[in-house]
Symmetry: C2
Subunit: 219 residues, 2 copies
DNA sequence: TAGATTGTTAATCGATTAACAATC
DNA sequence: TAGATTGTTAATCGATTAACAATC
C-alpha cells in the first residue's frame, strides 16, 4: 500500500521488528550482523531487509554488514522514537492501568503526562507516576499541554465520542485499543488500531485450517 | 504472502474487519449491504471485498448484495469462531486480568478453562469465573484437558521457556502478548503475536512523517 | 422490464526476490 | 589479494483493481 511517505506500510510495519531483533542481538553481546543474519532470525529474505532499509538510506558497509547499535539507532531515528513525545491515556481501567505499568513508555521517550477517567476510585491518584484526572478536565488540559498522542482505552460505548472530542481538540494521533472502528475521516488525526479480537480470530482461522489439513493426512 | 490454505494472509487479516463491520450494521438494524457499502465503511474497494470472499465461496446474490446476518455467520464459520475452543491463560498479571475481564471470550465461543500464575495473591482464586492455578500444575493440566489455545501474558523474562513448555506439551496455538519474539520453529505450534510496541512505533512514524510534511507546507 | 450487483476473468500495479557490480 | 556483503537494478511474483457477463 502506498503511503506517500516514501515507504510502504509493509516496510514501516517491519521496522519495529528489525529494531526488536537488533535489541536482542545487542543483549546477547553481538555487535555486528549481516542482512542474512537478520533475515534468518526473522524468517525473511536478506533482499527484503536491504530493500526496506534502502528506502531510508545506507546504513551498512560492503563486505562487513551492519553495526548492531548503529543500525538500531538509525531505525529509532527513522521511526521517530528518538524524539520525546507527550502522551495521555484516556480510560484508566484495567487495560489502561496494565499498559501504564507494563509497557515501556518511558524507555522509548514517551512521557505519559496524564490519565483521564470517570471513576473516582482512580481520579486524583497516580498510576505509575502518572496523575489521573476526571475526563471533564480533558479539553482544558489539551488547551494547556501539547499532547502528541493519546492512548484510547475507554469502554466500547464511549469510544466514538471520546475519539471525536480528541480529534476536535487537536490531538494528532490516537492509539485505539477499544476494539471499535473509529470514523474520523473528516478530521486531521492519525488512528492506529490495536484490535485484540482481530488477532485472536486470525489465529483461530489458522488453527482450524491446520487441524483440517491434519485430518486429511490421516484419512 | 502465501499460506498454502487457499487464502493470503492479507485476505485472512481482513475477514475480522468485515465481521466487525457487519456486526455494526446489524446493531444499526441494517439487514442488507452491498460490497460497495462495506467498502465505503472500511475505505477499501468493492472489488477487494468480492475477491476476498470469493476465496471461500459465494455468499451474496446478484442485484441484491449480501444479507448482513447471513454473511456475518458465513465469516464466523470461515474463521472457525462458530466452533467452541478451550483456552488457558498463562500469566494472570494486570494484562492477563484485563483481558479476562474485558475481552469477549465467552461471546465468541472461547471457554477460558484455567489461568496459571506464580503469584499466590491470585492462585486459588477465580478471575471472571476462571480458576487460577500455580504454573507448576500447568503440564499436568495439559495432560488432562484438551487445550486449543493459550494466551501468553507472562513477564518478558519468562516468555521463551514458558512458550517452549507449552509447545512441548501439545498446545497447538499460542497468542503471544509478551512483546518478545518466540523461537519455536522446531515445534508444531502456531504463534500469533500482539506486539503492542510495534503498533505504537508505527503510529509514531506516521506522526513524525506527517508533521515533517506540514513543516514543508509552511516553509 | 430496467437497474443493481454479484462472481469471475483480465489488466494493472506494487512488493518481493534474484542477480550483480561496487567495494570494504 | 580473496571473500564477504552491501546497495541497487532487473525479473518475478502476487495482490489489487477494473471490467463485464450473468442474473436476481
Amino acid at each position: 500500500m502506498k503511503t506517500g511517505l516514501g515507504a510502504s506500510t509493509n516496510t514501516i510495519g517491519r521496522l519495529p521488528k528489525y529494531l526488536r531483533c537488533l535489541q536482542e542481538l545487542e543483549d546477547q553481546g553481538i555487535s555486528r550482523v549481516s542482512s542474512t543474519g537478520i533475515a534468518e532470525r526473522l524468517s525473511l529474505t536478506p533482499s527484503q531487509i536491504r530493500q526496506d532499509l534502502a528506502q531510508f538510506g545506507s546504513f551498512g558497509a560492503q563486505g562487513y554488514g551492519y553495526d548492531v547499535k548503529l543500525l538500531a539507532n538509525c531505525i529509532r531515528e527513522i521511526l521517530g522514537i528518538n524524539k520525546s513525545h507527550n502522551v495521555i491515556i484516556v480510560g484508566v481501567g484495567s487495560i489502561g492501568r496494565a499498559l501504564l505499568t507494563h509497557l515501556e513508555f518511558q524507555g522509548n521517550n514517551y512521557h505519559v503526562v496524564a490519565g483521564f477517567d470517570t471513576d473516582y476510585g482512580v481520579i486524583g491518584k497516580t498510576v505509575n507516576d502518572t496523575p489521573v484526572y476526571h475526563v471533564d478536565e480533558l479539553i482544558d488540559f489539551l488547551g494547556e499541554v501539547d499532547v502528541d498522542l493519546c492512548v484510547l482505552a475507554v469502554p466500547k460505548e464511549h469510544a466514538k465520542h471520546t475519539a471525536l472530542s480528541l480529534a476536535k481538540n487537536g490531538v494528532p494521533a490516537i492509539w485505539n485499543l477499544t476494539n471499535v472502528d473509529l470514523e474520523l475521516g473528516n478530521y486531521d488525526v492519525l488512528v492506529e488500531n490495536m484490535h485484540f479480537l482481530d488477532s485472536l480470530f486470525s489465529l483461530t482461522f489458522y488453527l482450524e485450517a491446520t487441524s483440517k489439513t491434519k485430518e486429511k493426512a490421516f484419512a
